[in-house]
């Protein structure tokens, strides 16, 4: 199993950071306490635009607006992408496609066909999910890097097709997009006040988190993780891997679509220029930066990715470069992300007697494998080939001649 990537000198450190001890403290709290803290936390999030935060607020851009976009939208996208990348272990480099589909669904249905916004939202989500399933059906049997490049291509295909299709505005996009009807004191049609959108978006995020939590703690979530850890073993344990991969793709896509819908209504514009490849990469960076697989982690990661460049507008031209450097440094010193998945936290246990093979089958797998699926690479596990753990094991298959 040893690929060169990890073969050389391994000095695995338990990620005994502050966050993991915090996590420990958190899980140690009684249930009621956790619920109380959670509720207060969410309430504080709702109050974010109302509390004066001084230096934390963005300086050159309006804080309430930034809270909605990019921060909230990025959070939503990262939650969606995390299902695909962090949970199920499929590398998706074209997640922006679903963002675009949500936005365009809103623009076309709401803008061109005057649908009610509350009808547009679920339709946008459904369309994005359908697109995820349509993309997934032929491509999900591809693994790793191949899936990555195909999804990247899909993202570009969506953007370019939108750009080339005159009936949806071509490069001009569609700018006549409805906003949600006013509810009580929430005036969505007041363009000067982005707080209603923030609150609506936050409500959606809370709902999504609630749903995703439930999924993660169910048969579905276990199937996803099992697929991430060892797809073949999962299938042999009775997990219909294709179905669940498709579900992961569709759920992720649906959340992406919701983000797109919300974004387009607030910006009142859906144009192809928004849906660049770079956004997919930023969403992925958010997932990894926060701690791939961990819901809280990716939310924090996304918030950072969205917030920091806005906060440091003063750096102007340098901020993308600093962001790049930060990514490299982060991956060197804290590759597991800001708030790693609970499982990564070091566990204390009694010493054991390890036969040599224990490391062969587990630890080196974890070290050498792409977190995204253990066997990664061309032709490693196809049905006509033996079940080799190492794609490059010399006698792995008899067809080298």
């Amino acid at each position: 199993m040893s690929t060169v990537w990890a073969s050389v000198r391994l000095r695995r450190r338990g990620p005994l950071g502050i966050s993991s001890s915090l996590q420990g403290a958190w899980t140690g709290l009684p249930r009621a306490a956790r619920y109380t803290i959670g509720t207060v936390g969410v309430a504080l999030l709702y109050l974010l635009p109302e509390i004066p935060l001084g230096l934390i607020e963005t300086q050159g851009t309006k804080w309430e607006s930034v809270l909605f976009f990019p921060i909230l939208i990025y959070v939503m996208m990262a939650i969606g992408l995390n299902i695909v990348v962090g949970r199920t272990g499929m590398l998706d480099l074209g997640f922006v496609a679903f963002f675009a589909i949500g936005a365009y669904a809103t623009a076309v249905l709401g803008g061109l066909h005057d649908w009610n916004w509350w009808l547009v939202l679920p339709t946008g989500i459904a369309l994005a999910m359908a697109a995820g399933a349509i993309l997934g059906t032929p491509t999900l049997r591809l693994r790793g890097d191949y899936l990555a490049i195909v999804t990247l291509g899909f993202g570009e295909i969506i953007r370019l097709t939108a750009n080339n299709t005159e009936s949806i505005g071509g490069p001009r996009g569609i700018s006549d997009i409805p906003v949600p009807p006013n509810v009580g004191g929430l005036e969505f049609d007041n363009v000067l006040d982005d707080r209603p959108f923030y609150w609506l978006g936050l409500t959606l995020v809370v709902l999504i988190v609630f749903i995703v939590r439930r999924l993660e703690r169910s048969r579905v979530g276990r199937a996803w993780t099992a697929i991430r850890e060892d797809e073949d073993a999962a299938e042999l344990m009775g997990v219909p891997t294709f179905t669940f991969k498709l579900w992961a793709f569709a759920m992720g896509a649906g959340i992406g679509g919701a983000g797109g819908t919300l974004y387009a209504s607030q910006h009142r514009l859906a144009s192809p220029g928004t849906f660049q490849l770079i956004l997919s990469i930023l969403f992925l960076a958010a997932v990894v930066l926060g701690g791939s697989g961990n819901l809280v982690g990716v939310i924090v990661g996304a918030a950072m990715i969205a917030y920091l460049p806005e906060r440091f507008r003063g750096f102007e031209d340098k901020r993308v470069m600093l962001f790049g450097i930060a990514l490299v440094v982060m991956m060197i010193f804290r590759p597991q992300g800001l708030i790693p998945s609970r499982r990564r936290a070091a566990e204390l246990e009694d010493p054991v007697t390890p036969p040599e093979m224990a490391d062969v089958s587990t630890s080196s797998q974890e070290l050498a494998g792409y977190e995204l699926g253990e066997v990664f690479g061309p032709g490693t596990v196809s049905l006509d080939k033996p079940f080799a753990p190492d794609p490059r094991s010399p006698a792995g298959d008899g067809d080298h001649g």
Partner: protein, 396 residues
């Protein structure tokens, strides 16, 4: 970048020369309605700020800086002349990106001192920012957002300092059909909002004028290689190639067309009107290309702009570019409103909508929809001997 300067030096020199020969009247605002800033100066009680909205960094920074430096120059001159009324200046750097624009616009709206905006520079960002300005009643004067439909969206705060693409497109088409007497034309664009719109208008006008548009193609500006388009153009054997898009791609396309053996003429709109076009195409290939705009590329083309180049260079350290003079005029227009005693957004907007103002580029009087009243002037610039040379008005 350095070559950029080198090319601009002769232009700047010409401008300086013109300034030296011109009259000594420094006043810029001289109309019947508004008096020039008096020597005593304007007095204003509240702190007032004029903001620029557009790209200051990023790929689209060139155009934004051209304009913002013009606006800054106007404000600096005003402040020097009016010690009792110091106007602030602030730039909102949208990078030309419609996605960034709303949060910036909200911020601008929130700052009470900001009474008017010069910008937004592009049509795309206008679509996401202007609704916010409209809602806040914050008046804008845009020196360069040229999409025709912007004036149809019911914005009362919208004022456009140039003729839109509905004027530029027909002028280009008329020029192709008339002056250039082309029988077959290739209309190519960069598949951007601006480029495609302009190209479509031109193609429509050409068809109406009975000129055959044998090739329409959309290139990807991110792609370096346009050879498939070159082959298509070669195949059709056109007389003129019209390109809607920006200067870097226009230059690259022109170069690859010439290298591929295409001898047809080349004409493009204001997006291509930049010395960068000549750089990208190479002086040889660029020769003879016609670049149009609803503005002069160099301010000495304007009657009132004789010494503008020199002042601009002295103030900002760089030579003026396309729409620098419009940026300057835009700011002066707002300053004229302040001079006339209008210090609220509403009052300034009313002033802008009703007053007539003589800038260095033209006389500004706006229709209710924010477009200029009166015939729109479209000017051509031709590449001659490796430099941009004004070739007079071609339409309007």
């Amino acid at each position: 970048m350095k070559k950029w300067f080198r090319l601009l030096v002769p232009i700047a020199a010409v401008a300086l020369l013109a300034a030296a020969c011109g009259d000594d009247d420094d006043d810029v605002a001289t109309t019947d309605e508004t008096a020039a800033p008096a020597a005593a100066g304007v007095v204003c009680a509240d702190p007032l700020t004029i903001a620029f909205f557009g790209a200051q960094t990023g790929d689209a920074a060139n155009l934004g800086l051209n304009e913002s430096r013009g606006a800054e120059l106007a404000i600096n001159e005003f402040n020097a002349a009016n010690p009792a009324c110091q106007i602030g200046y602030k730039a909102f750097d949208s990078q030309g990106n419609p996605d960034n624009a709303p949060a910036l616009a909200q911020q601008a709206v929130d700052e009470a001192a900001i009474v008017a905006i010069v910008g937004p520079a592009f049509s795309g960002e206008s679509r996401t920012a202007n609704p916010i300005f409209e809602a806040a009643g914050l008046p804008i004067v845009t020196p360069s957002a040229s999409a025709p439909d912007l004036s149809t969206l019911g914005w009362t705060i919208f004022h456009r300092l140039i003729a839109n693409d509905d004027s530029q497109g027909p002028a280009i088409a008329a020029h192709i059909a008339g002056e250039l007497a082309a029988a077959k034309v290739a209309v190519i664009d960069d598949n951007s909002e601006y480029g495609l719109s302009l190209a479509e208008i031109v193609a429509g006008e050409l068809e109406a004028a009975g000129v055959e548009v044998t090739v329409t193609d959309h290139v990807d500006p991110a792609s370096q290689d346009f050879s498939a388009t070159v082959t298509k153009v070669k195949d059709a054997g056109v007389d003129v190639v019209m390109y809607g898009g920006y200067y870097a791609e226009a230059g690259r396309l022109r170069k690859q067309l010439v290298d591929g053996g295409v001898t047809a003429g080349f004409i493009s709109g204001d997006g291509s009107l930049d010395p960068g076009f000549i750089e990208a195409a190479g002086a040889e290939a660029a020769e003879g290309a016609i670049l149009t705009a609803a503005a002069f590329f160099s301010p000495d083309g304007y009657t009132g702009g004789a010494d503008f180049g020199a002042k601009f260079l002295a103030d900002s350290g760089s030579a003026p570019g396309l729409y620098s003079a419009e940026g300057y005029d835009g700011a002066n227009l707002i300053l004229a409103a302040i001079t006339a005693g209008n210090t609220t957004r509403e009052a300034i907007n009313t002033f802008l909508s009703t007053a007539s103002f003589q800038g260095i580029t033209k006389t500004f009087k706006f229709l209710p929809n924010g477009e200029l009243d009166g015939p729109a002037a479209i000017y051509a610039t031709v590449v001659e001997g490796g430099v941009l040379v004004g070739a007079g008005q071609i339409g309007g």
